[in-house]
Amino acid sequence: MTSNPVRVQPVVEGVGVAGAMKAVFLRDMKVAFRQRQDLLNPLLFFVMVVTLFPLGVSPEVSFLREAGAGILWVAALLSVLLSLDHLFRHDFDDGTLEQLVLQPQPLFLLVLAKTLAHWMLTGLPLVILTPVLGVMVHQPGNSIGILCLTLLIGTPVLSLIGSIGAALTLGLRSAGVLLSLLVIPLYIPVLIFGTGTVAAASEGAPVGAYLALMGAFLFLALTLAPFASASALKISMSNS
């Protein structure tokens, strides 16, 4: 089968970085769509938290109008948090992650591709579902628009920060607690600014500064998180 004589190949004769990233992204998407029920997990959890509150706390309009946006943000945060463990876990268990670490391309770019796939599969569907749930908890129209915008900027930040935690806790059997403890302190500013933006909008205050700050969070997370995750993955791999 191997027609060439066996010899050490120069590095240039390989697959480009873009091609490798695309392959990683597409494989994750393909696996997810092969198991469509898994795609529903974060969505279902999101809907569940949002609907249990009217049942368990109070179904009154005044309560829901006041608390609704906050409930949606907390539900989205918890939903992303619970999906993080899957980001690398299956790949770790079946050996795909070993092969990923051993690819010649820079690992942080491959991790970025995986994180992007994770966001497209968890964060983005939440954003798309938000208008429906927003109406359900009696949010006014302009609040819903701002709410969607803050979640659109905020959920990728949650995925990116979360990837660091997921990579660090990968070798551990009981990753859940540590993952939450590592990640939540970094999530709280995103939550506070996210809900703060919606609150400001509902009071008619300008939200430009808020949104700019959230954009800065996103930029920072995009540039730093993949490096941190890649280093953490190598450490976790070495200890396993």
Binding site: V6, Q9, V15, R34, T96, E98, L102, P104, K234, I235
Partner: protein, 212 residues
């Protein structure tokens, strides 16, 4: 062809505060098969993971084509193929999709070649069946199909005969032999009585633990 691909000098590895091996020095030359031997728990898997660069808990020196491996990361990864206990096969994808994804990060290979490689490991007709419907042995064969399209000169194979039936074992043995004849280098761990002409052996003493 006499420069070693991989050279280990005074390798030492501790695990759980016990020394698995120490002062381990050997060279992996092109055109050879090296078998890592030892009882259960002697550190065969650990040694292979150290050689592959997956485990950092060691001291000593490792050279790739004569230069320290740490400085040659990209060249080393481009030219080394590692197959571990866990074969890197996604149960939800088909053998074709798995093989395509595994090759995608290494070098472009046409679907036709991949399909023929799967046929070569006895998976003709199963190319597009999701791997979770295949048996453990058939899933290993998907991973082994990589060996039929690999151009990497160094292969590190951990327990490559696991769950493979007798015909499959013979096919792998002759593949390894042929590979060495073509100038490739193979390092294997196995419990099978693998004996090939000119085979090098690395025998590990009884240590405490091995990777799972």
């Amino acid at each position: 062809m006499s420069e070693p691909l991989l050279q280990a000098v005074n390798l030492q590895c501790e695990r759980d505060e016990r020394i698995l091996f120490r002062d381990l020095s050997f060279s992996v030359l092109p055109g050879t098969v090296t078998r890592v031997e030892g009882a259960n728990g002697s550190g065969k898997t650990t040694l292979l993971r150290i050689l592959a660069g997956l485990n950092d808990a060691w001291s000593g020196d490792l050279y790739w084509c004569g230069e320290p491996r740490a400085r040659q990361r990209e060249s080393f990864l481009r030219n080394m193929l590692y197959l571990g206990h866990r074969p890197g096969i996604k149960p939800l994808l088909t053998p074709m999709e798995n093989l395509r994804a595994l090759m995608a990060g290494r070098r472009p290979v046409s679907d036709e070649v991949l399909s023929r490689a799967l046929e070569g490991t006895g998976l003709a007709g199963y190319q597009n069946v999701p791997c979770r419907n295949l048996s453990a042995g058939q899933q290993r064969r998907v991973a082994l199909a990589r060996l039929l399209v690999a151009d990497e000169p160094l292969w590190l194979l951990d327990e490559v005969f696991t769950a493979i039936d007798a015909d499959g074992v013979r096919a792998i043995e002759s593949l390894l032999q042929q590979r060495a004849a073509e100038g490739g280098a193979v390092v294997v761990t196995t419990h099978h009585d693998l004996t090939l002409p000119g085979m090098q052996r690395i025998v590990l003493g009884g240590g405490l633990t091995d990777d799972e």
